[in-house]
């Protein structure tokens, strides 16, 4: 079970640059994931060997949470029905769905993770 952080990030005002603080880097150890609430939506933060990624915690195939899904070589594969996505581009890497996973730009500063949630 992936730890969830209820309320974390919800309502945090975006800075002038659009980035919203969501979590401390220390709370996201290497090779871990965390789902954080952002208003009605959830964002899945993934710490992989390539860095920290932020994607929608909602697989576009059947609109199920992605949290807890396996991540390998920069690709997350939904634990439910196997749709897989590139964590950098959000593009599907198999044929379960042709829809793109929403990805958010990530900024690390002063030990804090911020995401640009308005980015499309």
């Amino acid at each position: 079970m992936i730890p969830r952080v209820p309320g974390s990030g919800a309502g945090n005002p975006a800075g002038a640059d659009g980035f919203i603080d969501v979590l401390a880097v220390d709370d996201l150890p290497p090779c871990s994931q965390r789902s954080v609430a952002r208003g009605f939506e959830r964002v899945l933060l993934c710490h992989t060997p390539a860095g920290i990624h932020a994607v929608a915690d909602l697989c576009p195939h059947a609109l199920q949470p992605l949290a807890g899904s396996e991540i390998k070589d920069g690709v997350i594969r939904c634990a439910k029905h196997g749709a897989s996505f590139d964590l950098v581009t959000g593009k599907p890497t198999n044929g379960v769905t042709l829809k793109t996973l929403r990805v958010f730009p990530v900024r690390i500063r002063d030990g804090r993770i911020a995401i640009d949630a308005a980015a499309r």
């Binding site: 209820p6 009605f40 909602l58 195939h61 059947a62 609109l63 199920q64 949470p65 439910k80």
Partner: protein, 467 residues
């Protein structure tokens, strides 16, 4: 029903009681309707998948179902002033429903008697019904008003050219029609509904949101996706933490020409699928969050361990106060179950009025044109009329969603849009799958308890169609 058959009526866990037990434990007196159990269990039978995609079956439905049953057409509030009209279109049948007097409604075939043009394409108003092709015109009571170049239609007797009218009756602000001139009164089809809605009258509510969604699935596929909570475990897995899916109660009332069923899905308890160790407190906290989504800016409470009330009773009390204040109404007597839970009634063949404040919706499922692979689902979210003498708010206009438009493109309904989109993502897949089934296995197998309402629906449908 086989008298000796013992049916397991849902699953519970240490933290997820059955709906019936929650009704017993309510902090308020629960009315007789919600304590009454059904009187019928349908025969267990597989459902041939062909009836979801066969053109012949759809044609039979048109002749023996849609031309003969009482069916929900619209709400009185949709046509608030004399002269207002809306079309009611079911497959390729279409009727125009008109407010012909301050308290008088009529429905006519939506077709001009001159050369067959459809008279009403969408909500409108006026002192007459006038064809856009040559201006043939009728009074609101259906009598012929004018034919341009009347001299050219010497053989047309005005009395013979009243718009063909169909039966219409109302209950609870709902307008029903029946094209069958020999149909028995509406009351024979409503069954227990008027009695069961007495303490939560539907005419005391208004349409706050109204979405009409086109779906690439047969109307029965779309309907049946909403008649059970069995699909929550996979389709709405993110709702398991606060939804008593397997503890849902199902009931059917079969009496003469009335075919009614109901589900009660408790909220604010974890799914029994999550086991005895699931968090009852998290379920309450999540229920608070979910209900708060409809009230942006309102602080979201948390479970109070010091309160003498149960978690569900706490959420219900908060809802009574918030809603009561917002609407200037006294909801103090409303039971927890009516403030929290999803209580959905079904009236054969395609109408679902929901009860209470837990999830106050109205569903209607319709074939779309003559393609059995397409349907239309109409969803309304209703709210109680404001108290303190405030005027009736106008019914929300219809928001149309085409086949590929998600509910999330209408963010006004919050979390509900995700839930509907989860359901919608299944429907074209179901339709595609059942069309491609192994002919030797082209039938649906239904759960004895959780899918009994679907079984019942098909039992009545078969009887109605004689097929």
């Amino acid at each position: 029903m086989a008298a000796e058959e013992s049916v397991i009526r849902g699953a519970s866990s240490a933290v997820s009681p059955l709906a019936e037990a929650l009704i017993e434990a309510d902090s308020r007196e629960v009315g007789v309707a919600l304590r009454t159990r059904g009187n019928y269990l349908p025969q267990q039978k597989k459902i041939p998948l062909s009836r979801y995609h066969s053109v012949e079956y759809a044609a039979l439905e048109k002749e023996r179902l849609w031309k003969r049953v009482w069916q929900f057409a619209c709400r009185e509030e949709d046509i608030p002033s004399v002269g207002d009209r809306v079309p009611y279109t079911v497959g390729d049948l279409s009727f125009v429903v008109v407010r012909s007097g301050p308290r008088e409604f009529r429905a006519f075939y939506n077709t001009c008697l001159h050369r067959g043009t459809r008279l009403c394409d969408g909500a409108g108003s006026g002192a007459s019904l006038r064809c856009p092709f040559h201006a043939w015109e009728w009074h609101l009571d259906g009598s012929l008003k004018n034919i341009p170049s009347r001299w050219d239609f010497a053989n047309v007797k005005s009395a013979d050219y009243a718009l063909p009218e169909v039966k219409l009756d109302t209950w609870g602000g709902f307008i029903f029609i029946n094209p069958d001139p020999a149909a028995p009164p509406l009351a024979s089809a409503l069954g227990v509904l008027p009695e069961f809605f007495k303490d939560c009258p539907a005419d005391d509510r208004f349409t706050a949101f109204h979405i009409r969604k086109r779906v690439r699935a047969n109307w029965k596929v779309t309907l049946e996706a909403f008649l059970e909570a069995y699909h929550v475990i996979e389709t709405h897995s993110d709702s398991l933490t606060f939804t008593g899916d397997a503890s849902t109660q199902y009931d059917i009332w079969e009496e003469g020409g009335a075919h009614i069923s109901r589900l009660i899905t408790p909220l604010g308890i974890p799914s029994p699928h999550l086991g005895d160790g699931a968090s009852a407190i998290a379920a309450v906290d999540r229920a608070y969050e979910v209900f708060a989504m409809a009230m942006p800016g309102v602080p979201v409470p948390k479970f109070d361990p010091k309160s003498a009330l149960s978690g569900r009773a706490q959420v219900a009390e908060w809802r009574r106060q918030m809603l009561g204040a917002g609407l200037a109404r006294d909801l103090a007597g409303w039971p927890d179950v009516a403030m929290l839970d999803s209580i959905q009634y079904f009236m054969f063949p395609n109408f679902c009025p929901w009860y209470g404040e837990g999830l106050p919706l109205i569903y209607q499922f319709l074939p779309h044109g003559t393609d059995p692979n397409e349907s239309v689902m109409s969803v309304r979210l209703t709210a109680p009329l404001p108290g303190a003498g405030a005027p009736r708010p106008p019914a929300a206009p219809i928001m149309e969603l085409d086949f590929d438009e998600p509910f999330s493109s209408k963010p006004e309904i919050g979390l509900l849009s995700l839930i509907f989109d989860q359901d919608m993502s299944n429907l074209p897949r179901i339709q595609a799958g059942l069309r491609g089934a192994d002919p030797a296995r082209a039938e649906a197998t239904l759960g004895r308890y959780q899918e009994q309402r679907i079984q019942h629906f098909h039992e009545v449908l078969e009887r109605t169609l004689g097929a």
